[in-house]
Symmetry: C3
Subunit: 669 residues, 3 copies
C-alpha cells in the first residue's frame, strides 16, 4: 500500500522540479506518473526528439527515491501528426470528423495512427524501458473518455467488414444471424455493409451490437500493440492502464487481460453529478460522492487486475468537468484513500500534484494550489501517508496487504450495457443502475462483494448476483448449475441469443434449465408508473420500476412444485420467484425492498447481514476491518470491539471519518 | 365485418406455413396481408426475380380460403438498388443523406426511385393481379412514418421549383404572394429558390408552407403511380393504403382519393406515449390508450374511405417503438377490435401473426409469441371472431354492417397542421390537440362524430365543429352560410389567406360574412399562464390555455345586436361569442369547460347530450349501439334497455368490457 | 425628447405613403427610420439601381416635416449577391453554411461581403448624404441578432490567424499565453491553428476566448467601414446603430465608439420570455416585462452614447419571435416610452408603423393593425406625444432634457460574458444574471445607476458595483484604489489573467492590492443546493446560489485587522467580507438578501436607500422625478410632494401608470 501522484514536469519551470520531488517524498508519496500528455514535447516536430528535459525530470524524481510510472503519450497526438495524417481523426455519429484541439482525437482503426503509435511507443519504451527510476508503465490514458471508442470513419468501416467476415465466415450466415430478411435488409456481400447510423428509423439492432463489439475489440487490439512493445523493452515492469469509472464503451476485462495492473481514475463527486442519480441523491451526497460508487469500481477493477489494482487518479478537490463542481467535505480525500486500500488497492495516486493555472483543466484542484501551497487534499494525503507509516510501525502491514475475501459475487458485463443501449425497450432502461443498486443493497447489509465477468470462475461464493444479463453463455449456465451458492437473477436475463435474437424457448433462454419458466411478455414503464409489489415473508410492500417480466411459471401443471412465488404485482403477476436456490426478480424494486429481499436471500445462503444504513460502509481486507462514515452524524461501533484492536480511529467514527481494527480471525496469512 | 392478420412467410421456415394458415382459419381470420417488406426476397439481385416462394405462400393461404391483401414492397428498397442509385436516399433538414439499414429510405421526388418503383409494382401486379387468392392490394406501407415525407434532396428541389412554377406562373406572382420584399428576399426567377432550411433565423413562412404542400403532393403523385399500375393488372380488387394515426406530414385525403379503402394502423398505447398528452394522462390510460384517440382515427378514415375503412394493423400487445412500452390490459385487444367495427370498420387486421424473434421489431408482440403459442391478444382476437359468428347467427349481421349516421361533423385539415407548425406563434400551439379535445368533448357527451375535410359536403349535420382552420376557402364559407346547423369555430380560424398572409379584413377573414367581427390582436400563452374565463349560463368558471384571440365585436355601434358575448376573460375581453348559429371560441378552454359549452351548444342545435364521463364511450352503427368501458370500474347501462336487446354483453359493462344492443329504431336498412 | 417610428414604404402601395406620413405627423411622430431591409428594391439586379421609389418615399416624409433616419441595407443582402458570392454566407459551429432566406446571412470576415457592403453604402450615402430630409443614419440592423457574430468560415479562420499574429507576435508567445503544452496542443506556426470547434472534448479555453474576441473585433471593423463612408458623404448627420438588448456576442462599447448615437431595440415582453428568468417570474411580469430589464439597457446605452441614446425600436404590442407572445397590458407602451425618456433617451421610436400582413413578422404588432386602424400601442404613443407637448408648453422641457446624474456605477463587461461562457465551471453560471440582480437590488432601493465599462472613468461615484469581472486591468485597479467610493465586488472577480489563466497570486489577482485575501478554492452548485448564509447586522438569514469562492482572509495572522467577515456559510466559510470600503461577495445571494446588503452598503457610502418594493421604480432626469408602476395595485406617493409639482400624473399612480414631478433642487441647468 502506497501513495502516488500525477506530475507534469513539462507544465512547470525546470527550476521547480527538484523542490517538487523533495516535497513529494516528504509528504509520503512513493510513485509518480508522468508524461502521458507530453508527445509534443518529446517529439516537437516529425522525427525530431527532445529527450533532454524528460531525462532530467526522471532523474530528478529518481534522485528522491520516487518510482516513476512512465506513460506512452498516445492520448494526445500533436498537431503536426494530425496535419500529416488527417485520417487519424475519428468521425462522429453525426458524420463529422472530430478536430484537433483537446485530447483523444484519434481513431482506433486508423492505420496511420496505429503506425505512429507504434513508433512513439518504441521510442519511449526503448529509451526508458530499463531506466532504474522507471518502475511501471501506463498505456495511453483513459481509453473511452469523451466517448471516443466508437468511430464512423472509413477506416473503421473497412475494419468492421473484416471483423464481420471473421465472425460470420460468409454473408448468408450473417443474414441469418441478424435476421436481415425483416425489412429487406439482406446483404449480398460484406462489402455492402455500412456503419449502422443515419438510418431513417432505428438501425438493425444486431448490426448495432456487432459494431459496438467491433469497436471494443479495436481498443483491446490497440492496447495490446502497446503492451507488446513495452514488454519487449522494459521486461519485468508491470504495465497498467487507467480506466475511467463506468465508461463502458469497451470491454475493460479484455483490455485488462493484457495488463498487470488494472487501475482506475476515481472522481466520486464528478461521477455523482454525471451519472444517473436523481437530483435529490445528487444533493444528498454532493460533497461525499455516493457511498457505493467508488467501492463498486474498486471491487470491479480488483477482480480484473493481476497485481493489486490501483487508483491511478484520485480526486483531490473540486474538478472542472462535471455540470457542477462542488468541493469535497474535509476528510473525504482521506476517506476515499483508505476506502481504496480497504478494497484491495496497491496504490492510491492523486491527480495532480499541483493545479495548473492554464488550459482546459485549470479549475481542477490538485494536492497543491497553483500558487504552490498545500491544499486541503494535500494535507489529507499527508495524513494518510502518516497513517500508513504508523500501520507499518504497528506491524499491521501484512494484515493490510492481505486479500479481500468475500462470499458474494456480482456479475457485471460490458456487452450487456451495449445491448441494452441498442435495445432498451424503455428509454430509461439503464443497466448500470441495476448493477449498482443490487451492489448497494449488498453493501448496505455489510457484505464485501467481488464484481466479476460472466466468464469468471464462480467457485467458493455463497451468493451470486446476476443483474440483467441478456446473453447467457453455456459456460455460465454450467457454472451456475454446478454451484451450491444461492443465485439472484435480475429481469431480462437470458433474454437474447448471442446474435441479439429472442431465444427459441423465450427468456430466460438457457437459464430455463435452472429455473423452469418462460417470460411470455415484458413491459417497460414510464417513471410515473410504479406498480405495487406485495412480498411474502417479512419484506414490506414495495413498488416496481422501469420494467416487468411477465412470467409463466407453470402454476397449473404442478410440474414445478418447488417454484415459490415470493412476490406478486397487484394484477397477480409474479414479481419474484424462487426455484431451489435460484431467485428471479422480474423487475427493479425500490431500494428498500431490494435491500430487504437481499437480506432474506443472504440469510438463506448462510450469510449474516449486518445492516449499516445508507451512509456507513464496512470493508474487510486481510486481518483488518474498516469503517467509513459518509454521513453527517457520528457512527458508534459495537463496544465489544476491544479498544486496542483499533489501528486507525476508534469506536466513534465521526462524519467523514475512518476507523480500522484488527478482526479476531485473520482470513489471509 | 371480418378479421385479418399481417403475415410474413419470408420470416419463417416454409415448413410452418401450412399450419400457420390452418390456425389462422381456425381462429377466425379471413384476410392476410403479405409481402410489403419482401423486395429483397422477390428480387434478390437486379432483375433476378424469385417468385417461387411467394407463389407457394399465396397458394398455401388461398388453400385455406384466406383472402390475400397483396402489397407493393416499395417501403423497403433493397441494398443493391440503393447502391446503384444513391440518389434514392432522402436528405434531412440537417443536410445529411439518410442511410440504408431500416425502412422508408427513399425520396418521393427521386426519379430513379420513381422508375424503380414502377418496375417492381409492374412485376408484382402483373404476376399476382389476377391470382384467385389475391383479393385486395396495399400500396407501400405507412407513408410518412418516421418523418419521411419531407426531403431536402436536389431532386426534391428541382421538383419543388417546378411545383412553384405551376402554382404561381411567374416569379412576380410568387414574390407578391409570399411578400418576399419583407427582408429583401425577392427572387428574380424560380431557379433562385432553395429549400426553406438552414437560414439564420426562421425561413419565410409562405416558402415553408409551400414546401410542405409540395412534399405532400409528391406522396399523392407517387401513390397514384402505384394505384394506376395495380388497377391495370388487377381490375376489381380494392386498393388500400395503411395510414398511420395522426402522422400528418401529408394530406391523407388526397392520397385516399386514389384508393378504395382507407385503412389505418392502430396502436393505442404507442400513440398515447408518443403524442402530446401530459404525463399524468399517459399514466392514467397507460394500458388502455386514450378513450378518444383510436375512435378519432376511425371517424377520420371512415370519412375518406370509399369502401368501409379498415384497421390494417391492430396493436395486439406491447410494441417496441414508443419511449416506454407497457402491455395492454386484458380485454383491450377485444375492446379495440369492437370499437373499430362500431365506428364502421370493414376489417380489423392484427399486426402480426407471430412475434418475430429478430431485427428491429423483435420486441413487438403478435397474436402468437415467438415460440408459437397463442398470446393473450390472439385469444382475444379468437373471442372477437366467435362473437362475430354469433352475431351473424343471431341475424345481427345486417345491423352491424350498416352505416354510421351522425348529426355532428368535425372539420380536420392537414394543411392547418402544417401551417401552425410553420407559424405556431406560441411554441406549444398544437393543432391536433384542439381537434382531439373538441372531439373528446363531443364523444364524452355521447355523440357520434364524422371527421371531414373542409371540402366535404356538410349537408345534413346539425352541429359542425371547426377547430382552428387558418385558411378558409370560399367554398367552405358558402357551405357554412347555407347550412342550418349550429357551427362552432375555434380560434385562429380564417386567420390566413391561402398564401399565408393576414386577410385584408383581419381574421376571421371570409368568415366575417357569417360572424361580423374582427380579431384585432392575438396572444399566445405559456403553460403556467391560464387566464380565468367566466361563462354565461350554466357553464362553471373555467380557464383558457395556449391562445387568445382578442375580438372586436362592434359592441359600440349596436349594428350587431344579435352578437352574444357568452364568456369573458377577467380583463373583459370576450372569450366566446355567438352570432346566430355561429359560435366562436377565442381560446382553448379547460376540458371540463369545453365539454360544458359543447353540451349547451348541442342542445341549442337540437341534439340530446348524454354525458358519459371520461372512460365510457358509446357508438352507433346500423341498428346497434355499442358501449365501451375504458375505466377501472364497471359501468351499468339503463334498466330500460330490454335484456334481450343485447347481442354482446349485458347491462353491466365490466372494466375493459364491451356491450352491444339493438337500438329500437334502426337508422339504416 | 421626441417620438419616432420605423416605416417600410416598400411594403405598401405608394398610394398609401402620403396619408401615412400625414398621420404620423398628426400623431406626434418626428422621425422615421427607413430602408434597412430594402437592398433588393434599391438594387434589384447587380449594378442596376432603382432610386425612384426611395426618392419619392423620402420626399413624401420630408414634405410632412418628418426627419428621416436613413439606413444602410446591409442586414439583408439579396439573393443575386449571395449566388454570385456564396462565401458571404456564415458557417455555424455545426460546420454547415447558413442559407439565404431570412436575414443577417453574412459573414463579417467575408472579403466579398466587405466589398459589396462598401459599394452599397457608398451608393446610398452618396445619394442621400446631403438630402435635406435625411437627418440621421443607422448602420445595418441589430448586429448580433440571431447569433450571427461568430462564424466558422474559411474567411474567418484566415482573419483569425492574422488577428492572433497581431496579438501575440510569434507562436511561442501564443503557446505560452494559452498554455498549449497542457495536452500537447502546441503549435509550430499560426497556420496550424484552427477554429476552436469540433474537438472531442472541450476546446482550449484561451483559444475559445480569443476566437470570441476576434469575432467581436470583426463587427467593430465592419461597422467602422460603414461609419467612415457615411461621414464622408453625410457630414454632420449623427450616426446610430440599433443594438439588441443583452445580445452580448460582440462588444457594444467598441462599436459605439464609432457612433454618435447608441440606440437599442426594446422588447420588454419578448426579452422576459427569452432571457434567463424562472417560469414564475415570466408569469408574474408576463404583460409588463421585468421592471428592471428595459431600464438596465437604458442605463447601459446611455453611457456609451455620445448624444442622448435612443430606443430605436419600441415594442408596440405582441411580437412574433419569442416562445410565447403575450400582449402588453394597456398602458405599458406609454409607460415604457416615458421610462426611456426618464433614463435619458433622446428619442423613442416605435417598431413599426403598421403591422405587415406577410412574411416572417406578420404576427408582430405595429402602431396600426394591418387593416390600417390605430392599434392600442398607437393610441398610447399618441398620448405620449400629447404629454410631451404639454410638458413643453408647461416649460418643463429643459428639465426633461437634462442629464441623468447618479452616484452609483455598475460595471458591465462583454468580455466577462464570453469568458464565463467559455469557462462557466457550473453549467448555469450566467454573468448577466449577476449584473441584473445587483442592478435590480439598487433600483429597488430607489437609486439611479450608471452602467459603465471597466475602462470608464469612475470619478464622482459614491458606490461602485462590480459584478463578476474575471479579468481586472491595472487601469481598473488604479481607479478603484483612488476612489473614495464604496466598492462592491462579486465572486470570480480578478479570477483570470488576460490570457485566461489563473493569476499567480490566485484570485482576486490584482485586486488583492485593495483587499488582502486569496480565493483558495471555488465551487459551483447545482440549483437544488442553496447553502444557508448568516449575515451580521440587520440582514436576515439568506442563502447562496450557483457559486462559492472560498476565501483565505488571513484571519490567523492578525495582519488584516480591518478585514470584517460580515456573512458566513453554515460551514464557516466567509460569504461576504469587507475591507476598508471594499465589499467582497463570495456568492450570489437570494434577491432579498442582496437587496438588504446593498441597502446597508449604500448607507455606509452615504446614500439614502428608499425601498420601493418589486414593482415600483423611480428615475430622475434633469429637474424631474418619474415614478413607474409595473404592478397590479395603485401606488401612492408621499403627501409632501406639492400637488402642483406634478407635470404628469398625480400622487396616485395607477397600475401601469406614470407620474412625474418637479424635484425641489434641479441637478442640471
Amino acid at each position: 500500500m502506497r501513495l502516488g501522484v500525477c506530475y507534469y514536469p513539462e507544465h512547470w519551470p525546470e527550476a521547480m522540479w527538484k523542490e517538487d520531488a523533495a516535497r513529494m517524498r516528504a509528504l509520503g508519496i512513493k510513485q509518480v506518473r508522468i508524461a502521458e500528455f507530453a508527445w509534443s514535447r518529446i517529439e516537437p516536430s516529425p522525427g525530431e526528439f527532445d529527450w533532454g528535459w524528460l531525462d532530467r525530470a526522471i532523474d530528478t524524481l529518481g534522485a528522491e527515491g520516487l518510482e516513476v510510472v512512465m506513460c506512452t503519450p498516445t492520448a494526445t497526438p500533436p498537431k503536426w501528426l494530425i496535419d500529416r495524417h488527417p485520417d487519424i481523426l475519428p468521425v462522429g455519429a453525426d458524420g463529422r470528423t472530430r478536430a484537433f484541439g483537446s485530447r483523444r482525437h484519434y481513431d482506433f482503426s486508423s492505420p496511420s495512427y496505429f503506425e505512429a503509435s507504434k513508433a512513439i511507443c518504441e521510442a519511449v519504451a526503448s529509451r526508458y524501458g530499463r531506466h532504474p527510476a522507471v518502475a511501471y508503465w501506463q498505456t495511453d490514458n483513459e481509453y473511452g473518455c469523451h466517448q471516443t471508442v466508437v468511430s464512423y470513419s472509413a477506416a473503421a468501416l473497412t475494419r468492421f467488414r473484416e471483423w464481420l467476415k471473421e465472425r460470420y465466415g460468409n454473408i448468408d450466415a450473417l443474414n441469418r444471424a441478424w435476421g436481415t430478411v425483416f425489412w429487406s435488409m439482406e446483404y449480398r456481400g460484406f462489402h455492402e455493409i455500412d456503419a449502422p447510423i443515419g438510418t431513417v428509423t432505428e438501425a438493425h439492432p444486431s448490426h448495432r451490437l456487432d459494431y459496438r463489439r467491433f469497436a471494443s475489440d479495436e481498443v483491446a487490439r490497440y492496447n495490446r500493440m502497446q503492451t507488446d512493445i513495452i514488454r519487449k523493452h522494459s521486461p519485468g515492469r508491470p504495465i497498467a492502464h487507467n480506466f475511467m469509472q463506468l465508461f463502458t464503451e469497451f470491454d475493460h476485462y479484455k483490455v485488462a487481460d493484457d495488463l498487470d495492473v488494472a487501475s482506475w481514475d476515481s472522481y466520486p463527486l464528478g461521477a455523482l453529478e454525471e451519472q444517473w442519480y436523481e437530483p435529490e441523491v445528487k444533493a444528498k451526497y454532493l460533497r461525499t460522492g455516493h457511498p457505493d460508487f467508488a467501492s463498486f469500481n474498486h471491487d470491479l477493477y480488483r477482480g480484473m487486475s493481476k497485481l493489486p489494482f490501483w487508483v491511478m487518479e484520485q480526486q483531490p478537490g473540486p474538478v472542472n468537468w462535471a455540470k457542477w463542481n462542488p468541493a469535497p467535505l474535509p476528510g473525504m480525500v482521506r476517506l476515499w484513500s483508505w476506502e481504496a486500500f480497504a478494497h484491495g488497492a496497491g496504490c492510491v495516486s492523486y491527480f495532480r500534484w499541483r493545479q495548473a493555472p492554464f488550459a482546459q483543466e485549470q479549475m481542477h484542484a490538485g494536492l497543491n494550489t497553483p500558487d504552490n501551497r498545500l491544499d486541503i487534499g494535500g494535507s489529507e494525503a499527508e495524513r494518510v501517508a502518516q497513517e500508513l507509516r504508523a500501520l507499518a510501525d504497528a506491524g499491521a502491514d501484512a494484515d493490510v496487504d492481505g486479500r479481500v475475501d468475500t462470499p458474494v459475487a456480482l456479475v457485471f458485463d460490458y456487452e450487456a450495457k451495449w445491448l441494452f443501449e441498442v435495445q432498451p425497450q424503455g428509454v430509461d432502461f439503464h443497466y448500470p443502475r441495476f448493477a449498482v443498486e443490487y451492489y448497494s443493497a449488498l453493501r448496505a447489509l455489510g457484505f464485501d462483494v467481488d464484481i466479476v465477468p460472466p466468464h469468471a470462475s464462480l467457485d467458493g461464493y455463497k451468493l451470486i448476483v446476476v443483474p440483467p444479463l441478456p446473453i447467457v453463455s453455456d459456460d455460465l449456465v454450467r457454472k451456475l448449475s454446478n454451484t451450491r451458492a444461492h443465485i439472484v437473477v435480475g429481469p431480462r436475463t437470458g433474454s437474447k441469443t448471442a446474435d441479439l435474437q429472442i431465444p427459441a424457448n423465450l427468456p430466460p433462454g438457457p437459464l430455463a434449465s435452472l429455473m423452469p419458466m418462460r417470460v411470455w411478455r415484458v413491459e417497460s414503464m414510464r417513471p410515473n408508473v410504479n406498480p405495487r409489489v406485495t412480498f411474502s415473508g417479512s419484506v414490506p410492500q414495495g413498488y416496481a420500476r422501469h420494467w416487468r417480466d411477465l412470467l409463466d411459471v407453470g402454476t397449473g401443471s404442478g410440474s414445478h412444485e418447488s417454484m415459490q412465488i415470493r412476490a406478486v404485482f397487484a394484477d397477480g403477476h409474479p414479481a419474484y420467484v424462487k426455484y431451489g436456490a435460484v431467485h428471479y426478480l422480474s423487475s427493479l424494486f425500490d431500494e428498500a425492498s431490494t435491500q430487504a429481499l437481499f437480506a432474506r436471500i443472504a440469510a438463506e445462503a448462510g450469510l449474516a447481514p449486518a445492516p449499516l444504513g445508507d451512509t456507513v460502509r464496512t470493508s474487510r481486507r486481510g486481518g483488518l476491518t474498516w469503517v467509513f462514515n459518509y454521513g453527517s452524524r457520528a457512527h458508534s461501533l459495537p463496544a465489544d470491539i476491544p479498544g486496542d484492536a483499533f489501528v486507525i480511529g476508534s469506536h466513534d467514527v465521526e462524519p467523514q471519518g475512518v476507523a480500522a481494527y484488527r478482526t479476531s480471525s485473520k482470513k489471509t496469512p
